[in-house]
C-alpha cells in the first residue's frame, strides 16, 4: 500500500513527469463498452480521452493484476480474456477461458483467473503463469459476480438463475456452500475486515449481506429512490470504501447511486446518474466515484463529498464496467 501511494510521488521527484504512462498510479480511468469492442482510457480530472484500445468482441468486466501493470478484459463473444499492458495501453495477449466469460477475479497472488462462463454455468480457473486451464467447476446457470477472498481461500460466485452465492474452496476447488440470496444476484463487495459479503440482487431490488464465517444471511438493504417503482430498482454495481464505512450501490434502471452506511445498513443518499447505472469505481482518494450508464452511453463522475455528478462523459456504446488505475 505504501509503495503504491509513494510511487507517483517518486516518479514526479526523481524520474520527472515525462512518463505519464508508467504502469502504476497513472490515475487513468478505463471503461469497457460492449458494442464497440474497445476499452476507452480517460485522464482523470480533465476526463480527456487518452486512447481507445481495440479489444476482442463484447468487452465487459475489467480487473487489474495485483501490481496494476496489466488490465484484464473479459471479451464474451470471443470467449477470451484480453490482457492490456497498462504502460503501452494495448492488448498484448488473449487468454482462452471457455464460453462467454462474464465477470471474473484475479487471485490475490496474481496467478489465477477465476472466470464465470455465463452460457455454460461454469467457473473456469485459469493459471496465468503456466498458461493453462486448471479447472472447470459446475455452478448454477448464468454465473455472474466472482470474488476471491483476500486470503485466497474462498471464491464466491453468484448464479443469476439459481439465486445463490456458491462458495468454492480455492485450493480443493470443491463447492463448499450454496447460500440462497435475493432474486438474480449480480455482484459482490467484501467489507475490508473480510467479515461481510454484500451481494446485489438485480430483480429482487436489494443487497443481501452474508456473514463470511457462517455463510449465513445476516441482513438486507432495500432502496427507495424517490419517483421510482420498486421494480425499477435493479442494483448491480457495488463498491465499499477502504475504511469500510460506506458502500456505493448502482441502482440500474432507477438511474441512481445509493450511498449506504455499512455499519447501520441504512441508505444515506441517492445521487442521480445516467440511465441503467451498472459498473462503479472509486478514485484513490475516494473523493470521486465513476459510474457507467449502459442505456445513456456515458460515464457519470461523482464528487462523493458534495454527493453530486460533476461531469458526464460519453463512453462508447453500452458502457459496461469502469476501473481506475490508482
Amino acid at each position: 500500500m505504501n509503495t503504491r501511494l509513494l510511487s507517483p510521488i517518486l516518479i514526479l521527484l526523481f524520474v520527472c513527469a515525462e512518463r505519464p504512462a508508467y504502469a502504476k498510479g497513472t490515475g487513468y480511468v478505463f471503461v469497457s463498452s460492449e458494442k464497440d469492442h474497445v476499452v476507452t482510457v480517460f485522464r482523470s480530472g480533465s476526463m480527456d480521452e487518452v486512447k481507445k484500445i481495440p479489444t476482442g468482441q463484447r468487452p465487459r468486466s475489467l480487473r487489474f493484476s495485483p501490481d496494476y501493470t496489466k488490465l484484464y478484459v473479459a471479451c464474451g463473444d470471443d470467449d477470451s480474456i484480453d490482457v492490456i499492458d497498462v504502460e503501452k495501453l494495448e492488448v498484448v495477449k488473449s487468454i482462452p477461458v471457455g464460453d462467454d466469460p462474464d465477470r471474473f477475479d484475479i487471485s490475490p497472488d496474481g496467478r489465477f483467473i477465476y472466470a464465470s462462463n455465463e452460457d455454460e454455468g461454469l467457473l473456469t480457473i485459469y493459471d496465468i503463469v503456466n498458461d493453462k486451464l486448471v479447472a472447470e467447476i459446475p455452478v448454477g446457470e448464468e454465473p455472474e459476480g466472482v470474488l476471491a477472498s483476500p486470503d485466497n481461500k474462498r471464491i464466491y460466485v453468484a448464479s443469476e438463475v439459481a439465486n445463490m452465492v456458491h462458495v468454492i474452496d480455492a485450493q480443493s476447488h470443491e463447492l463448499t456452500a450454496n447460500i440462497v440470496v435475493g432474486t438474480r444476484p449480480r455482484r459482490f463487495a467484501l467489507t475490508p475486515n473480510d467479515q461481510e459479503l454484500w451481494v446485489t440482487n438485480e430483480v429482487g431490488g436489494t443487497v443481501t449481506i452474508i456473514d463470511t464465517q457462517s455463510n449465513r444471511v445476516i441482513g438486507e438493504v432495500r432502496f427507495e429512490p424517490k419517483g421510482f417503482r420498486p421494480e425499477e430498482v435493479t442494483p448491480v454495481g457495488i463498491v465499499i470504501t477502504r475504511d469500510g464505512q460506506r458502500a456505493y450501490v448502482t441502482l440500474g434502471h432507477a438511474n441512481h447511486v445509493a450511498t449506504v452506511d455499512v455499519a447501520s445498513r441504512q441508505v444515506q443518499d441517492y445521487v442521480l446518474v445516467g440511465r441503467r447505472a451498472w459498473g462503479a469505481a472509486l478514485s484513490d482518494d475516494e473523493n470521486t466515484l465513476y459510474v457507467v450508464n449502459g442505456k445513456s452511453d456515458d460515464l457519470s463522475v461523482i464528487d462523493t463529498r458534495r454527493k453530486k455528478v460533476i461531469r458526464s462523459v460519453p463512453a462508447g456504446r453500452v458502457p459496461h464496467d469502469v476501473v481506475v488505475d490508482n
Binding site: 462467454d100 455465463e118 452460457d119 448454477g140 446457470e141 448464468e142 448464479s159 443469476e160 438463475v161 439459481a162 439465486n163 445463490m164 462458495v167 474452496d169 485450493q171 470443491e174 463447492l175 463448499t176 456452500a177 450454496n178 447460500i179 440462497v180 432474486t183 438474480r184 430483480v203 429482487g204 431490488g205 455463510n215 449465513r216 417503482r229 420498486p230 421494480e231 435493479t234 434502471h253
Partner: protein
C-alpha cells in the same frame, strides 16, 4: 496439519447447513400434459415460423428449466422429474392426470387449447394440485371461466392487445384500419383488441373482413390493395389468429403505412432477439437443447417449472402443499429474464409480465411503455385489472 483438519471441519459444517449432503432426496414429479392432435403444432404451420406462434412443441422449455433447477431442488432436498403425457381427448388427459396424481404429482403443466384446459381444470378442482396453463391465451380463462388452481403463465390475449395499443398511443398512430379474419379465434381476438382500443383511446376508422384466397369474384376481400384503399388511417391492424393472410399484408398495402397485429409489429411474450436481463443466455441454452429459436410458448413452459423451483428454493421444502401456498402467497416474486419481478395476480391467477413488441428480428419496445402508469404495479396496465375482474374462485 491442524489447518487441514479445520478446513475439512468447516467444509462439513457448511455442507450440512446448505443441504449438500442431504440424505433423503424426494422426487418431485411434474406432470406435462399435451393435446396430441393440437392444430397449433401441425408441421406446415410450425414450419411457417409465424410471429408469436409456436415453432415447435414447448416441452424442451420445461426440460431446460428442470435442468436449471438442480440447485433449487437441492436446497429443498428434492429432485425434479418431468413426466410428459400426450392424449387426444379430455378423457385421455384425465386418465394421464390420474396416473400421475397416483405417482404423487401435484404440479401439472398444460399445453392445451383453452377449452381443454378449462375442462381439465373443472374436473380436478378438489385434488390439491396446481395447473399451469402455458399456451391458451383465451381471455375467458382469466375471467368468467377462471379456476382457482389454474395458473396462467402464458399471457391473455388482452395483455397482448393492450401492449400494442400502448405502443400506438405512444407513437400517436391513433387511427386504425382493421383487417379481420373469420377463422376460429379471430372474433375473440377482435374483441380483445376492441377492448384495448377503448381502454387506450384508439380510433377504429373502419373494420374490413378479409378472405384468404385468390378468387377474383371475392377480390374486394382477398386483395390487400383493395382492402386497404379508399379510407385514411395511420396504421393497418391485422386480426388473424392463423397468421397466413397477415404475412402478406406489410408490402401489399395501398398506402405507405405501418402494419401491426398479426404481422409487421407483433406483440409477443418472448423473443430470441431480446438482449437484456440475461435473455441471450436463456435463448442460447434453449437453442442448444431444442435446436431451434425459443418462442413465447417455450418460455412459458420454461417459466412454469421455474415457478416451482423458486418456491422450492425459498421454502426449502419439497412438500407440494407448502410450495402451492408459497406460489399463491404474497411473498412470491421471481425472475423471468424479462426485467420485472414476476408474480401472479391474486384475482385471476394470471402471471404479471412485460410484453414485447417485436419485428421479425428485433424487439422494438417492451410494454408497459414509459408513461403508462398504474397505481400499484405498472404491469397491471396490461390485461384485466382488478376493477375489471369477473373471475370468482
Amino acid at each position: 496439519m491442524p489447518n487441514t483438519t479445520a478446513c475439512v471441519l468447516l467444509a462439513l459444517v457448511s455442507l450440512s447447513s446448505c443441504g449438500l449432503a442431504a440424505a433423503d432426496t424426494q422426487t418431485l414429479v411434474i406432470g406435462y400434459l399435451e393435446f396430441g392432435d393440437d392444430p397449433r403444432y401441425r408441421e406446415t404451420f410450425l414450419e411457417s415460423r409465424y410471429p408469436a406462434q409456436p415453432w415447435g412443441r414447448p416441452f424442451e422449455g420445461a426440460q431446460l428449466a428442470s435442468k436449471e433447477s438442480r440447485f433449487a431442488a437441492m436446497t429443498a432436498s428434492a429432485e425434479f422429474k418431468l413426466e410428459r403425457r400426450s392424449a387426444i381427448s379430455v378423457e385421455g388427459l384425465m386418465q394421464a392426470y390420474e396416473d400421475l396424481h397416483a405417482e404423487g404429482a401435484r404440479f401439472f403443466i398444460l399445453d392445451l387449447p383453452g377449452p381443454m384446459a378449462s375442462a381439465l381444470a373443472a374436473e380436478t378442482k378438489t385434488r390439491n394440485s396446481l395447473l399451469f396453463n402455458i399456451s391458451a391465451l383465451d381471455d375467458e380463462l382469466r375471467q368468467s371461466k377462471c379456476q382457482s388452481h389454474l395458473m396462467h403463465v402464458a399471457p391473455s390475449r388482452v395483455m397482448l392487445t393492450d401492449a400494442l395499443a400502448q405502443f400506438l398511443v405512444f407513437k400517436k398512430w391513433r387511427d386504425l384500419l382493421v383487417l379481420k379474419g373469420s377463422q376460429p379465434g379471430d372474433e375473440e381476438y377482435y374483441e380483445s383488441f376492441r377492448r384495448s382500443a377503448r381502454r387506450f383511446g384508439l380510433k377504429i376508422e373502419e373494420s374490413r373482413d378479409f378472405v384468404l384466397g385468390r378468387d377474383p369474384r371475392e377480390r374486394d376481400q382477398n386483395n390487400i390493395a383493395l382492402l386497404t384503399a379508399g379510407v385514411d388511417y395511420d396504421v393497418v391492424y391485422v386480426v388473424d389468429s392463423q397468421s397466413e393472410f397477415a404475412r402478406d399484408v406489410p408490402y401489399q398495402v395501398q398506402k405507405p403505412r405501418p402494419v401491426v397485429g398479426a404481422a409487421g409489429l407483433v406483440s409477443d411474450w418472448w423473443h430470441w432477439a431480446w438482449e437484456r436481463h440475461g435473455a441471450p443466455q436463456v435463448n442460447k441454452r434453449f437453442f442448444k437443447l431444442a435446436n431451434r429459436l425459443m418462442t413465447g410458448y417455450d418460455w412459458a413452459a420454461w417459466l412454469a417449472v421455474k415457478v416451482i423451483a423458486e418456491a422450492a428454493l425459498r421454502t426449502k421444502s419439497s412438500n407440494s402443499q407448502v410450495l402451492i401456498e408459497y406460489i399463491r402467497g404474497d411473498e412470491f416474486k421471481m425472475d423471468g429474464s424479462k426485467g420485472y419481478p414476476l408474480d401472479f395476480r391474486k384475482w385471476n391467477n394470471q402471471l404479471r409480465q412485460p410484453v414485447f413488441l417485436t419485428s421479425f428480428n428485433w424487439v422494438v419496445e417492451r410494454a408497459p411503455l414509459r408513461g403508462f402508469l398504474h397505481q400499484t404495479n405498472n404491469l397491471d396496465t396490461l390485461g384485466f385489472d382488478e376493477r375489471e375482474n369477473r373471475c370468482k374462485f
